[in-house]
């Protein structure tokens, strides 16, 4: 496959950036999107140019490191798929593909396609944990959990914190991420003691980090590689309402 890619190039956090066009020739349709960038980077290095910086780690769709907006869609055109699991066969020979970093004030660009997602860590630090005695693993039947709740909590827990929801949101809001964490812990018996303070503190941390507000537009769930449902945001709102009424 011969394609053209237009990539956001930005040499550093404070530098200005622009879209730069590159020809990529002879790419296998079975190559992943990241492998295509690897091939392009080899050419750039051989020519003495600066390779394109991008985040990646497991390349198995479970770590949440890769983060590219491809043709305006976070993680590209394939549903419920991270960029690393997207293959070039989803594109046509001769396509011009635009590649940009996540765009959000809370996710400043470090270089090219790499953004700083520590704002998510701040949200987690504010309440994305439980305080329980650790030690040896408890007996499996020590704290009974209904199967329905366990499944729903697991669905929310599949969030890999990649930030695609923020990238896609017209308001630059991280509500789906926060809602997933709230549901994941709030559905479990171990998450109950801090349920009220968790939702208040995590929302405060989210506002402080400079994320926008949620308007239920639903863009986040469409691009989410793990298909986190939008209904979790309703759960977050409900938890928040109950928490502030108890204050």
């Amino acid at each position: 496959m011969d394609i053209k890619v237009r990539v956001w190039r930005q040499s550093g956090p404070t530098a200005g950036g622009k879209m730069v066009t590159y020809d990529v020739k002879g790419i296998s349709p079975d190559a992943s999107f990241l492998e295509m960038i690897d091939v392009l980077n080899e050419t750039l290095i051989l020519n003495g140019d600066d390779p394109i910086a991008f985040d990646h780690d497991c390349r198995e769709g479970i770590c949440g490191a890769c983060s590219m907006v491809i043709n305006g869609v976070a993680h590209g055109p394939e549903k419920a798929t991270t960029t690393c699991q997207l293959h070039m066969r989803k594109f046509k020979d001769g396509d011009v593909i635009d590649v940009e970093p996540w765009r959000a004030a809370a996710f400043p660009v470090i270089k090219d396609l790499v953004v700083d997602r520590s704002a998510f860590d701040k949200i987690i630090q504010a309440g994305g944990y439980i305080t329980a005695p650790t030690g040896t693993a408890p007996d499996a039947h020590a704290a009974p959990v209904p199967k329905k709740d366990a499944d729903a909590a697991f669905e929310a827990a599949t969030c890999i914190g990649c930030g695609a929801c923020v990238a896609a949101c017209p308001n630059g809001s991280s509500m789906l991420f926060t809602a997933a964490k709230i549901a994941h812990l709030g559905l479990m018996p171990q998450g109950q003691p801090e349920r009220d303070s968790r939702v208040i503190d995590m929302l405060q941390a989210q506002d402080d980090a400079g994320f926008g507000g949620c308007t239920n537009a639903g863009e986040c769930t469409t691009v989410c590689p793990k298909g986190i449902p939008l209904s979790l945001i309703g759960r977050l709102n409900s938890d928040y309402r109950k928490a502030i009424s108890k204050r």
């Binding site: 956001w8 907006v69 305006g72 869609v73 765009r103 017209p170 308001n171 926008g212 639903g218 709102n237």
Partner: protein, 210 residues
């Protein structure tokens, strides 16, 4: 957004129901307008109910616009650098047009009050004969007014289709089944409201009333 919006939706339905009285008869419609001023008497002096309602509505509209402006400003700040390539977002047309739709609705409400309440653009009927003003207002030779009303009412419909559903979600609606129901309720209420509002101008335009 959700609470002030719910207040405004309740008003919209009460207002639309009142409008339909014109199909019962023009004098009935005039009596209804008079009743609105008499409501609450003798506890309230004549006309006070209407003013209290107007104050309540203005507060609701004020809160709604304040919340929408705050959200818009936050959204702009949250994404200072725009995407170079941004296809039409995948959400509904209604969700995408909430902000500009809201601005159009505000402009329409201002025109609507000058047109049918104060009579600045449409003095027919004076203060004593509201049905005559409605009939003169949507007369066939003022077709452009009817066209503008139609566009505005349809934009209210779109605004409510996302707005009603979104309000349920903001107030804590959280099941997938409930989401389908809330979306269906929003769609049905929006369509019914648009039909209720458009029935009067089109009845006047086609000569069914008047």
């Amino acid at each position: 957004m959700a609470v002030s919006g719910a207040l405004l939706v309740l008003f919209l339905f009460a207002h639309a129901a009142g409008n339909l009285k014109i199909f019962v008869g023009e004098t009935d419609f005039d009596h209804y307008a008079e009743w609105l001023r008499d409501l609450g008497t003798p506890l309230l002096p004549h006309g006070w109910f209407l003013w209290l309602q107007r104050i309540g509505l203005l507060a609701g509209i004020g809160l709604h616009i304040w919340a929408a402006t705050a959200l818009t400003i936050r959204a702009k700040k949250a994404r200072p650098v725009k995407y170079a390539h941004r296809p039409k977002i995948q959400g509904s047309y209604a969700a995408r047009t909430m902000r500009w739709g809201g601005v159009i609705i505000v402009l329409f409400v201002i025109y609507h009050i000058l047109d049918l309440t104060t009579g600045t653009f449409n003095p027919a009927g004076g203060d004593v004969d509201p049905s005559a003003r409605v009939i003169a207002g949507f007369a066939p030779d003022r077709w452009y007014v009817t066209l503008f009303y139609t566009l505005a009412v349809v934009s209210v419909g779109f605004h409510l289709r996302h707005g009603i559903w979104s309000a349920f979600r903001t107030l804590g609606q959280q099941t997938t089944k409930g989401e389908r129901r809330a979306k269906a309720v929003a769609l049905v209420l929006s369509v019914v409201l648009v039909a209720m509002y458009l029935s009067v101008p089109f009845a006047v335009l086609t000569g069914l009333v008047g």
